[in-house]
């Protein structure tokens, strides 16, 4: 019972979702929409478990005075504070919006902007012409990097047009890049189909716990 019912659910609903893909009729479209909403609703209920887990992790740090437990207080206080402000005051209240604008938003964009540094250090370390493959990676990255900014056009302006960096960069982006993308996408489509099929048929059951349901 504990394993069979979930496997039956997976099979029946999985099959239904495949079938509905080929049936445009209103009734199927309605069920499709409903089932999608159900997954969202399940997700929201599960959010309670998620937040419970976050609080438990930090609470146990505080309780057992693990290193850095003081920071855990900050997390729990800011979590409770922010959610109460939002739940009681609504999402349009000024304090909630300001905490978003001046708290969450700058951290998000700053974390994002760290990429400018990381991309440089990763390029320095990884782009070494050790093998043919690494050299190709390196050369195409450098060409596109320079070809997309004015400096690339300036330093190759004396060359015939098709040899100018911006045109080589465009060629790389529109030809080998497209081929690479297509090869990966075609494979991904097949891979996703295989995993989905395994889930629906109950061959893949790691998610049931206990080492594949055995």
């Amino acid at each position: 019972m504990r394993r069979e019912i979930p496997l039956v659910i997976v099979f029946l609903f999985g099959l239904f979702m495949i079938v509905q893909f080929f049936i445009p009729h209103r009734s199927f479209a309605f069920l499709y929409q409903e089932f999608n909403n159900w997954t969202i609703i399940i997700g929201i209920f599960t959010m309670v478990i998620g937040v419970g887990s976050l609080i438990t992790v930090h609470y146990s740090k505080i309780r057992f005075k693990k290193p850095g437990w003081g920071y855990s207080i900050v997390t729990i206080v800011s979590l409770c504070g922010m959610s109460l402000i939002g739940l009681i005051g609504g999402t349009e209240n000024e304090l909630f919006l300001n905490l978003y604008r001046y708290g969450l938003s700058p951290v998000t964009s700053t974390m994002f902007s760290l990429l400018a540094y990381f991309i440089a250090s990763a390029a320095y370390r990884a782009f070494r012409a050790r093998t043919v493959v690494a050299t190709l990676l390196l050369i195409s990255a450098v060409v596109v990097m320079l070809g997309r900014v004015p400096i690339g056009q300036i330093i190759t302006a004396w060359l015939p047009e098709w040899l100018q960096l911006q045109n080589i960069a465009d060629f790389l982006l529109q030809t080998p890049n497209v081929a690479a993308k297509r090869a990966i996408y075609i494979g991904v489509g097949l891979g996703v189909a295989a995993v989905s099929l395994k889930i629906i048929l109950g061959i893949e059951r790691t998610w049931l716990g206990g080492d594949g349901g055995k």
Partner: protein
């Protein structure tokens, strides 16, 4: 012509004054009384929208008498609709020059609808026509998706065929993939160093197949971790993913006969927000110093932030994603990368169950079919038979 222009302005001014909220289309129809010649006929055909849930019609029209110059001067098509050709038509929209088709939606299935099209130049009604009735209905099969149906059936039957023959004991050869073989070594290394393993299941929700693939790889990793008496830390972005990961890790420990080793606080939820989540995972890397970091599933811009931080903290890193834009960053920074399809193949590889390997065989046959079709399609297209390629243009 100048006079009629003046008249038009007067009427325009009066009508604007009379109906302050008059729409553009109404202003023009007020003027249509001043045309000097009978409008040309418009042939209007109304048909049910194919392959739809219902409630939609396609209206198409042509003006056979108009020469290209007249056609070019028609800059507004006013479209109106009625359920009875003899009663009042209700104006629904106006379209720009060159339009020959309109898709009307939000209609009632099984009812009759008639459409009237009137073409204007700036101030004259040049052509008009009425067509119908059209009866909207929903279809029970989407004929446009026949190629996909064939593909799904072909794929499923091949896969099931291979699975069945695997059950009967047939052995498949699969070539080794570096990234997958590295998984076991990486876990061994963590044990030697006495440091934990970090497993990041990505930013996908459980409604992404890449995340499901991440679950199965986690199952394998957790099982090994339990055998080696190490620890696996799984910070989560999505609560449902967390619930499944807990189930997977708990199950793996139980299967290894060490259910007591499982600590629910090691598989936890952080927040459903890209960069705050990244900040927290960075914190784990810097402070817990995991020996090995796994990044499996969906990754976006945070891929490089995670991988660089992992590099700084000196971990071995194994990544797997089908996100094309992020693969280059993982390739540059991580020790091993499962690119695209390899992520999906990994679970089959790691389990080494013949049934699982059977689906890999089906994937390979799928690739052979695709390559054959590409070559055939290319040859046909080169010799002008484009309809073969067009047949696969499925919506």
């Amino acid at each position: 012509m100048k006079k009629s222009g003046f008249k038009f302005l007067v009427v325009l001014a009066v009508s604007i004054w009379l109906t302050p909220f008059a729409s553009f289309a109404e202003v023009i129809s007020a003027d249509s009384a001043f045309q000097s010649f009978p409008p040309m006929p418009i042939i209007v055909t109304v048909s049910d929208m194919p392959n739809d849930p219902g409630g939609a019609l396609i209206v198409e029209w042509s003006i056979p008498d108009a020469d290209s110059l007249t056609l070019a001067s028609m800059n507004v098509y006013q479209i109106s609709r009625s359920s009875n050709p003899d009663s009042e038509f209700e104006s629904i929209t106006s379209l720009v020059a060159g339009s020959t088709r309109y898709e009307d939606s939000g209609l009632e299935d099984g009812k009759n609808y008639y459409y009237r099209i009137i073409a204007f130049d700036n101030d004259n009604r040049l052509a008009e026509g009425t067509g119908g009735p059209g009866v909207p209905s929903g279809q029970w099969f989407n004929t446009g998706r026949i190629p996909i149906l064939i593909m799904v059936v072909l794929f499923a039957t091949t896969a099931i065929g291979f699975i069945v023959s695997a059950k009967k004991g047939y052995k498949f050869y699969v070539r080794p993939i570096a990234g997958i073989r590295a998984v076991d070594d990486a876990i061994g290394r963590a044990t030697e160093m006495g440091r934990p393993i970090l497993y990041v299941p990505g930013l996908g929700t459980a409604s992404e197949v890449a995340t499901i693939a991440a679950f199965t790889i986690l199952g394998r990793v957790a099982r090994k971790v339990a055998e080696y008496n190490t620890r696996v830390i799984v910070p989560n972005y999505d609560p449902v993913v967390m619930a499944v990961c807990q189930e997977v890790v708990k199950g793996a420990y139980t299967a290894a006969g060490k259910p007591d080793m499982y600590d629910a606080n090691d598989v936890y939820f952080v927040t459903q927000d890209q960069f705050p989540y990244t900040a927290a995972v960075n914190g784990v890397m810097l402070r817990q110093k995991p020996a090995t970091n796994f990044y499996m599933g969906m990754f976006y811009a945070e891929s490089l932030v995670l991988a660089e931080t992992g590099f700084i903290s000196g971990s071995i890193q194994i990544a797997g994603t089908d996100q094309l834009v992020q693969i280059p960053f993982f390739v540059s920074v991580c020790d091993f990368v499962l690119m695209g399809e390899e992520l999906y193949a990994a679970s089959a590889y790691l389990s080494q169950e013949p049934q699982q390997l059977g689906t890999l065989k089906a994937q390979d046959w799928g690739k052979v079919l695709v390559v054959v079709l590409i070559i055939v399609g290319m040859i046909f297209s080169t010799f002008g038979w484009e309809s073969f390629a067009a047949w696969f243009d499925v919506g």
